[in-house]
């Protein structure tokens, strides 16, 4: 039954967002330190990918830690 579930949906969401956040952060941080010669996106100088990646890491890790299945009740 549903009530006996040991993993919350918020844990799944947290895990996915955390992985996404880390991936996007790493992919964009390289462009910050070693900017490529050609940028195809507008406002690239804001490095939005780094900020968005960091935001996903914060949201993801909050859910990941708060709803981890091994947390003591």
């Amino acid at each position: 039954m549903v009530g006996q579930r040991s993993i919350s949906i918020w844990f799944f969401i947290g895990t996915l967002l955390l992985i996404y956040g880390i991936t996007i952060f790493i992919a964009n941080v390289s462009d910050y330190f070693w900017p490529s010669a050609e940028h195809t996106i507008i406002l690239w100088n804001l490095h939005f990918g780094i900020w968005w990646g960091a935001l996903l890491i914060i949201i993801g890790s909050t859910y990941f830690i708060s709803f981890r299945p091994w947390k003591k009740k």
């Binding site: 006996q4 579930r5 949906i9 996404y20 996007i24 992919a27 507008i42 804001l46």
Partner: protein, 577 residues
Amino acid sequence: MIDNHILPAILLFFGPSSLVSLSWTDTFIIALYFAFVLWIGYYLMRYTKTGEDFFMAGRQMTAWIAGLSFVAANLGSLELMGWAAAAYQYGILATHWYWIGAIPAMLFLGIVMMPFYYISRTHSVPGYLKLRYGEGASLLSGVSFGFMTVFMSGINMYSMALVMKVILGWDIHFSIWVSSLTVMIYVVLGGLLSAIFNEVLQFMLIWLGALLVPIIGLIESGGWSGMVARIHSNFPGGDYTHLWSTMGSFQDNPMGIHWTGIVFGLGFVISFAYWTTDFLVVQRVLAARDLRSAKMAPIIGAGFKMMVPFIVILPGLLGLALIPGLVGEKEAIATGGHSYNEVLPLMLARYAGPGLLGLGVTALIAGFMSGMAGNISAFATVWTYDIYRPLHIKLSHTEEKDAHYVKIGRWCTVVGVLVSIGTAYLVQQFASIMDYVQALFSFFVAPLLGTVLFGMLWKRATAAGGFWGLFAGIGSSIGMWAWVKLDPGALRIIALSEHAQDMAENMYRALWSWLICVGVTVVVSLLTAPKPEAELTGLVRGCTEIPSEGDMPLIKRPIFWAAIIFVIFVALNIIFW
């Protein structure tokens, strides 16, 4: 991580001509999403043993989960792209479909109708009709809903595959089969529980994937006032940023519609019909764990629905400000330019760097899958409980065990997905089918609202009244549609103005068919014998004792939150008047 041998094989499907091209980071993000939804389905399989688990998610959902799932099931990717395009075409008027076209109805569902759906312990809307009116109205509604749901699902699937082909250059067959089989697997494994849990995940991804466009767009255009100034400069004389001030006459706004059509046709009939009787969305709320959660779920959903224009309408308006010159589909094909139907992906490609593009595309795919899972899980429930079960009992005179219906539900899911795929291919061959099926869907919803509403609020309504009212409403809707098809001049009679356009026809046709349904229901009911009041307990207002919330603190009462949402809704309409 993704297998290095599989990825190139997948990438082979990517064509050379596309709006954007994905990096390896983007592809990883999309692939990981598919892995996660399947993992959730597999994990939940062990908790889906009984019919109550499979079809009703064990009726254990919290108000938040049911509420988010309620909105997500409606938030398909075509909805995202279609309404962004509509915002580019009609301006902020498209917001009516999110505010007056949704919020009052969702609040009404939560406060007025939910107690009857929930207390009756029905598993579906046709199930409620069976309890209230008997087999006739229930079968009519169940069969029409069942077919229309899978057909619509197929149309959405084809449209989605077409979108992926345009944006990413993906092969149409690849998009259709991979996305629909993924939905099939996780719904077969975990039933409604899996569909709901994945919808909550998809809801989060839709927001986090789509939100970056309005944020960066507003920065680029210099905030709201900068965006409005650019739109005025790009389109002098046009009014794209006022909700109501151009609604005084049909010819003053680009939609060609009068405020009466928006308020009564959209705001009352179409919106109430969809949000309160379409089982695709109502099923999510029926899975709530108690009556308070069931009442709160649509109210929470309304709060989030009110914010959706931020990720759907605003990108369309930003497109008007920043990328003027997008044209209609036919002109775009003729000139080789871009259509306003592509405004959302164009904006995404404008701002999204590595990873963010993958997240945006994942949001579109998640939107499609949440809509499809909603269709398929609702189809499986209605087909199993409202069509198969009564027919099986009638023919074999035996009631089967619970496990039998779970098995049938799983097979219905497989069949539903396969019929959807078949419909997608049919639409690919005969594009006009799409218009006919969409019209077919619109025939049923408005009259059904009359039947359900009068069933819940008027104890004198009889079984014959319910059936014939529904029948007459559907018949009149088909009649009006055929009349306009044969003689386009009939539109001015149905919509009450010679300046009315297509959008107005839908509003007024819905309004008339609802009125005809109600009229016939009332007349036939008054001419036939009513049900004894004892048989209406738990189904009708005046015969049902609704648990009091008097001992609950104000902050926990659904009516309190509904009032807050309603005040915000009114304020937003005044601000953007």
